[in-house]
């Protein structure tokens, strides 16, 4: 209730019992309404924009008699009103249409540019009902005719105006968030497809995606799995730098380009070169880049080829052991002209799994100091979960990263994890 920034005798009066007429002191209003009356958080704050002290006094008396109560601020011009609106939130503006620095609907327009979502009730003279109606047509919530208003009417007009504005705003916000959710869902479907696995000896795939804390900032993490007719399984994980719909859309473009290249039989370094070209052509801003790792699991499941483009390492599971593997690679896509991406050959154990992920998995904040989980702690956590089967291993690992970040705002970034389990026939 008490506000340390606002000290002085005037406030004492307002904090007193309800039967004491708050703000009765004219000195309060005429001195400066801007910092004037005590602001009780539960009472709506009304900003009167009126240059005539006599009219201001009348409004103040009406407001003082309103029940439930309201707090009043006073500004004598649009300029003062803007300063007042910047210094504290206001629920409703009572606007006179004849001000020294703006007239008629111009005053309303100037104010609405600043108030955004604040309710505005216009005050008109006795012979001006028409301008009141025009103001309502131009976006004011209501108008009141000076000299024809009693406290009850004023209070009700203000409360209804505030209520209507809030309802409109929440409806608009709800619609915006629904649209965003639909858009995100569409992009997510594009980023995180159903693996294209055909054939009887398909590896077991566990794919997980965990959206970051900033839901409206959809990340550009993407993955894909495609099995070719000869039994080779192609696996992809990637991450477009930055966050937002452009980045997510680029992630979708890259993933589909990758799938097309795979199905067209383009492999290894050549596939990366073409993806690099596509990224350069499709990105919205020329500093956007993407990191990715491609794995080709050959049909006999004895060999995997790994191509790494600026992406973090992968984890290799064998028995209950987990190892970190960061193969030699090339730069992220979209950075260097004529880059090269070496292909790394990995001999696979008889049974095992590859764990591919995006950096969101180990970049979560885990201490107030700002320390991050980091690759080493992630690997230690993975090793502790080494005996778990694919799905629970992945879920527990993400849960672990999430749990550690929980006390520090949660995981900011998106996390994508792909767990590919193979078994050799013989």
């Amino acid at each position: 209730m008490s506000d340390p920034a606002q000290n002085g005798a005037n406030r004492v009066q307002e904090t007193s019992t309800p039967e004491s007429p708050g703000g009765r002191d004219l000195g309060l209003v005429t001195r400066s309404a801007l910092g004037g009356l005590l602001h009780d958080r539960r009472e709506p704050v009304v900003l009167l924009v009126e240059d005539d002290p006599g009219d201001a006094l009348l409004v103040e008396e009406l407001v003082a008699d309103c029940r439930p109560r309201m707090s009043l601020r006073w500004a004598r011009s649009i300029e003062e009103a803007m300063a007042a609106l910047q210094s504290e939130p206001v629920d409703c503006v009572l606007l006179d249409l004849h001000l020294p620095d703006a007239h008629g609907l111009d005053a309303l327009e100037a104010l609405r540019e600043w108030t955004g979502g604040t309710a505005v009730v216009v005050l008109t003279g006795l012979a001006e009902e028409e301008s009141g109606l025009a103001a309502v047509a131009a976006g004011a919530q209501d108008y009141l005719v000076k000299g024809r208003v009693d406290p009850e009417w004023l209070g009700r007009a203000i409360r209804y105006a505030v209520q209507r504005t809030q309802t409109e705003q929440s409806a608009a916000a709800l619609q915006a968030s629904q649209l965003r959710a639909e858009e995100n869902a569409r992009l997510e479907r594009g980023l995180l497809p159903t693996p294209l696995l055909e054939g009887i000896d398909a590896p077991e795939i566990v794919a997980r995606y965990h959206p970051g804390r900033a839901q409206s900032l959809l990340g550009g993490d993407f993955y894909d799995v495609v099995q070719l007719p000869d039994g080779t399984v192609e696996v992809l994980i990637g991450d477009v730098s930055g966050h937002g719909p452009d980045e997510a859309a680029l992630g979708v473009a890259l993933r589909i380009a990758w799938r097309t290249l795979v199905l067209s039989g383009i492999s290894g370094t050549e596939r990366l070169r073409r993806l690099d070209q596509i990224l350069a052509a499709e990105r919205a801003q020329d500093h956007t880049f993407a990191t990715l790792t491609c794995v080709s699991l050959l049909a006999d499941r004895r060999t995997a080829f790994i191509v790494r483009a600026g992406h973090p390492g992968v984890m290799v599971r064998s028995g209950s052991d987990v190892a970190w593997l960061e193969v030699p690679g090339g730069p992220a896509l979209g950075i260097l002209p004529d880059a090269d991406w070496p292909r790394y050959e990995l001999a696979l154990p008889e049974r095992g799994a590859l764990v591919l992920f995006t950096d969101g998995l180990f970049e979560g904040r885990i201490a107030a100091s700002g320390a991050r989980l980091g690759e080493e702690r992630l690997l230690a956590a993975a090793r502790a979960l080494g005996s778990l089967p694919g799905a629970s291993f992945v879920d527990e690992l993400i849960g672990h990263a999430q749990g550690l970040a929980e006390g520090f705002g949660g995981l900011d970034d998106d996390v994508a994890v792909l767990h590919v389990t193979w078994r050799q026939d013989r």
Binding site: S241, G242, D286, T288, G310, G329, P331, L336
Partner: protein
């Protein structure tokens, strides 16, 4: 977490000292600082990230963007960094080959004057 930025001219270069975390939330401020420098005609920039605790891909994107813009004006953008954690990120992403990375501002200046 916070990001602090300080820009000082030195020997024909603009040195941008960055401290704190460069992530999705703070990166826009670094982007603006670099854009302001470049727009006002400073195309020789050294970004000192010695006191940066965290740098994510959004932050890297900002540095890449700055580099592309100075290069378009025949300028340079070098990075001062000795922190292993950050060097690793430059290494992994292949950006170590794109930026001149130096252990100190003096080393970066010397590399240009040699």
């Amino acid at each position: 977490m916070d990001l602090s930025l300080e820009v000082r001219p030195l020997d024909g270069f603009q040195v941008v000292e960055v401290a704190g975390e460069i992530d999705v939330y703070t990166a826009p401020r670094l982007r603006e600082a670099l854009a302001d420098l470049i727009e006002s005609g400073h195309h020789f920039v050294i970004v000192d990230v010695e006191h940066v605790d965290f740098l994510d891909s959004t932050g890297l994107g900002v540095l890449v963007g700055g580099l592309k813009r100075v290069r378009a004006n025949d300028g340079t953008l070098d990075v001062v960094c000795t922190r292993e954690r950050l060097l690793k990120i430059f290494e992994i992403t292949g950006l170590a080959k794109v930026f001149g990375i130096y252990p100190s501002v003096d080393d970066a200046l010397r590399a240009h004057h040699d």
